[in-house]
């Protein structure tokens, strides 16, 4: 079953995107002539050295920041260029690195926030929908808890549900499982896998964890060290839904070697660049 078959929305074209921070002053080229496409309903995973500009790209797609040149299209609509920047909206939902559930709202209030504030659902409808979603992923009985009363793994799942209830075209996740232990991560992967297979939509997933990248991604986009460009794109043609025993299979190990080699080259370059800066 090809994920994305039922969904033909959320196609992203990234064309020659360049981002220069502080062009008049320090002039940091975060990204130079970066181009790649993400098909509708594709699970794209972005890996690359720290500080290479992955988050820069996410911010541009989300509408949090502008780009210096190039164009980004979502379903044929220009959403970001030098002269045009569409503001953030519910079609491009972001799940943040350090988590951004509102600590002053309960789990239920967090999840229903989007549909209620957009006046897309009545409060009671949104509560029903949220309860169904929580129930479906086995998160019962936490509706009235505050985020900080929950483990970070549960917080992340709730935050992902808060994004999904809006049925966005694209879900962008910036290292969402960083800092979770290995066991919790496995749970998160299965959770994300399940909801992705249930209703496939375009995913833009940033990570450092190569196992995670291959396990979840339908393609892995490896970025170069700064200024970021696409180093290599590895298609992951493993069947969905993926199971954890895959991680021992030969095809998986081959993919991992391929990704690892590309990442390692860039990591070395980044390290040497760092050494030069230190010297």
């Amino acid at each position: 079953m090809a994920a994305g078959a039922q969904n033909n929305q959320g196609e992203i074209f990234i064309k020659n995107v360049t981002k220069i921070y502080d062009p008049e002053g320090v002039h940091v080229v975060a990204m130079k002539d970066c181009s790649f496409d993400i098909a509708a309903g594709e699970f794209a995973v972005i890996v690359g050295p720290s500080g290479c500009g992955k988050t820069t790209l996410l911010n541009a797609i989300a509408g949090f920041d502008t780009i210096t040149s190039g164009e980004i299209y979502l379903d044929g609509e220009l959403i970001s260029s030098r002269d045009r920047q569409i503001k953030p909206d519910v079609e491009r939902m972001v799940v943040f690195q350090n988590g951004a559930l509102f600590p002053w709202k309960t789990v239920m209030e967090n999840v229903i926030y989007g549909p209620v504030v957009q006046k897309r659902m009545k409060r009671s409808e949104a509560v029903d929908a949220a309860r169904d979603m929580l129930h479906q992923v086995g998160l019962n009985g936490i509706e009235d808890k505050y985020p900080e009363e929950l483990s970070s793994g549960v917080q992340r799942r709730v935050e992902i549900l808060r994004a999904l209830i809006n049925k966005p075209k694209v879900v962008m996740l910036d290292e969402p499982f960083r800092g979770l232990d290995a066991v919790a991560k496995t749970v998160m992967h299965e959770f994300l896998m399940d909801i992705f297979c249930e209703s496939p939509r375009t995913m833009f997933f940033i990570t450092h964890d190569l196992d995670e990248a291959i396990f979840l991604g339908s393609k892995v986009i490896i970025m170069t060290t700064r200024p970021a460009q696409v180093k290599k794109i590895v298609q992951v043609d493993l069947p969905w839904p993926r199971e954890h025993h895959l991680l021992g299979s030969q095809i998986y190990l081959d993919l991992k070697r391929e990704v690892l080699e590309a990442v390692h080259e860039e990591a070395k370059k980044a390290f040497e660049a760092g050494e030069r800066e230190m010297a």
Partner: protein, 270 residues
């Protein structure tokens, strides 16, 4: 029920609190009644103060059995509450607006920072000249320092909010007014309540000073009167009255804070 009461009585925290108070009162007694230290000659000992405070016929005419005692309290509490309510409404509004709008901040921050350090009492002459009636002048002096403490803490509260909450709110489809109500207001509440605590403390301080200088009734005014009339028992009992009122007002603010910020209380496991 009994065991809970027993646990309460043998609770080391309560015991330590009682010991602390006992040591303080003993030293006071020692200095005034036993040692008769030269500088403490005119200072009444704790027993004399209590006797006067709880007397049916106090020498000063002021005890818990006299009407004037409650009138003094009513005046002071009324002034403080009026000043504090005004400081909260205006201070929180101004602080939130300053934190919300960069333009408004640019206009207002320098002048706020210039006025803020002025000691409340330095306002007395202007307050009396400009405001109609001494009563309003005293309230103004009580208000002004609490107001600035509230503004500053509210502003810091808005600045303390994680940027990601704003981004998340925008992603989720919030208009500016939704961001204000759902991110800025709740996000700055912990700092606002710190500001209110500080503000309440400053209010009481400025109130007594204001009453001494410009008042006609109230606890501060009565303390000063007691000083001139050599009624030191009532000076001290009124000081403790102020202490108790301050303690109650702080506790009330904390309780309101816990109610409004259930998420904070639960995080601390309260």
């Amino acid at each position: 029920m009994m065991s809970r009461l027993k646990a309460r009585v043998t609770d080391p925290q309560l015991l330590r609190a009682l010991i602390g108070i006992l040591v303080f009162v003993s030293l006071w007694y020692l200095f005034t009644a036993v040692l008769n230290l030269p500088r403490f000659k005119l200072i009444p000992n704790p027993i004399a103060v209590l006797k006067d405070w709880f007397s049916f016929t106090p020498a000063s005419g002021r005890s818990i059995f006299t009407k004037v005692y409650y009138l003094d309290i009513a005046y002071s509490v009324g002034r403080t509450l009026a000043a504090f309510a005004l400081a909260t409404i205006l201070g929180v509004s101004l602080g939130l607006l300053m934190g919300w709008s960069r333009t408004f901040y640019d206009f207002t921050f320098p002048i706020v920072e210039l006025l803020r350090p002025m000691p409340p009492l330095s306002w007395i002459p202007l307050a009396i000249l400009i405001l109609p009636g001494v009563e309003i002048a005293v309230v103004y002096v009580t208000f002004i320092a609490a107001f600035f403490a509230t503004v500053l803490n509210t502003l810091l509260g808005v600045f303390s909010i994680d940027k990601n909450y704003f981004l998340a709110a925008r992603c989720l489809g919030s208009r500016p007014k939704d961001v204000f109500m759902n991110v800025i207001v709740p996000g700055s509440l912990p700092f606002i309540f710190t500001g209110l605590q500080i503000g309440m403390g400053i209010s009481w301080m400025s109130l007594v000073a204001g009453e001494i200088i410009a008042g006609k009734q109230g606890l501060g005014y009565a303390i000063y009167e007691g000083y001139f009339l050599y009624q030191f028992e009532h000076v001290i009992s009124y000081m403790f009255t102020l202490g108790i009122l301050g303690y109650i007002s702080s506790a009330a603010i904390r309780a309101a804070g816990r109610k409004l910020m259930a998420w904070e209380a639960r995080r601390r496991g309260a």
